[in-house]
Symmetry: C2
Subunit: 217 residues, 2 copies
DNA sequence: CCGAAATCTGAACGCCGTCAAGATTTTCCC
DNA sequence: GGGAAAATCTTGACGGCGTTCAGATTTCGG
């Protein structure tokens, strides 16, 4: 009675906080055992409501996924944005990459949905989704513009994005498990990820040929 | 009559080539519209067979996916292996990366399954799957060993793998669509991919500090 | 040639997403 | 305050899915 709605067998007809509860259940499910286990019915079950209830908040399953993906891109952008602006470009780029990978490992469910097959920011009718995705990429790009000639900014940005995205994906899917141990090293993944980013920064700095006077765009 | 079994309304009770037909239908489906559209029933339908037939060849859906994934890793390994061994290490690594991305774009269905969430080479009971995955990684690693000190081989290998994997994934999912056009360039993706690999090779060669005399491992 | 193994069918089960119609609660305006 | 309108949730149904199982059909080895 004191707390109105939270526990599973709720007292009132209305849930009171269903949208948030469904989102939480969804990310929980994906983090537990992959997005294949994510079903609207199971989310509804965990929230203690009927199977048809989610439709009123998200329309359909894709709606829920796009909502989570939007949160994911916004998380990503704000994490990357809040890296220290005082750092030299290569160091800040490295910090951004670290933020990217850390986000993936911290919120695996959200990350997997955000970059899952079903999410197509370029095709979706969801305007916030596209905006959030472009904002994250823009952050990376404007930082790259400080260390590369204008003609190389795009390819360098895509290169860095690809690397951190690939690293995050491989780590999250534990696809480096057998490979690493098969190579004789039993280092934990957090360490391996850091070493890879070290190497990336080193390679990045080794190609310093830009003119920092021309901010380019 | 002349050809025994191929067309949809087959004449005999037995299909004759069902396993291959199901694999073909599966990759076709995923290439068409994502792995969400891949269903055993639809594969069976396209092969002109009852919904329960696939179970006798693959056990269940995961069995079919693991079979495709094994083919994918073997494709990948043989594509990478058949790059020119006469090239200098950095150039051959670049060729391997190009083979990786090209494989993804040429066989999108197979690639998506191979690196999809459901495939866990490190956990699967499928021995061929794990072997094929390790072989592909080993190729990359032994080539990296020619240009890096032993202590840096692992991280450099993971870095390269991450980059090409991320690039292939982002290209395949058309996730660079809005970003590229939003950046003012309308270059086709094949070109962008090549430029990114150019940049990667450049960065790789800029950090030449290894002793090629010590093959490491 | 015949029995065993391989291959495929048909029917069923439970789960899924989704929709439509109705019940219940809240909100909001008069 | 009170009552219509909107928001929220339930119930029941539909078709599609993966999977299982008993049985029909074909192939193959001895």
């Amino acid at each position: 009675m004191s707390s109105p709605a939270r526990p599973k067998p709720r007292a009132s007809y209305h849930h009171g906080n269903l949208k948030a509860a469904l989102l939480a259940a969804a990310e929980e499910l994906i983090a537990e055992s992959g997005s294949a286990q994510l079903t609207l019915r199971e989310c509804a079950r965990r929230a203690g409501v009927s199977p048809a209830a989610p439709a009123h908040h998200f329309g359909n399953l894709l709606g829920l996924l796009e909502h989570i993906a939007t949160l994911g891109f916004e998380d990503l952008a704000s994490d990357m944005e809040s890296t220290q602006t005082s750092l030299p470009p290569a160091a800040r780029l490295r910090a951004m990459g670290e933020a990217y990978v850390r986000f993936a490992l911290r919120s695996p469910g959200r990350f997997r949905v955000t970059f899952g097959e079903k999410i197509r920011p370029s095709e979706s009718a969801n305007e916030k989704l596209r905006a959030a995705a472009e904002r994250a990429f823009g952050l990376l790009e404007s930082e790259v513009a400080r260390i590369r000639k204008p003609a190389q900014v795009l390819q360098q940005t895509v290169l860095l994005w690809s690397t951190v995205h690939g690293l995050a994906t491989l780590l999250l899917d534990q696809r480096l498990n057998t490979l690493v141990s098969a190579s004789g090293s039993g280092a934990p993944f957090e360490t391996l990820g850091r070493e890879v980013l070290d190497q990336l920064q080193r390679m990045c700095e080794a190609v310093q040929e830009a003119d920092p006077e021309e901010p380019a765009v």
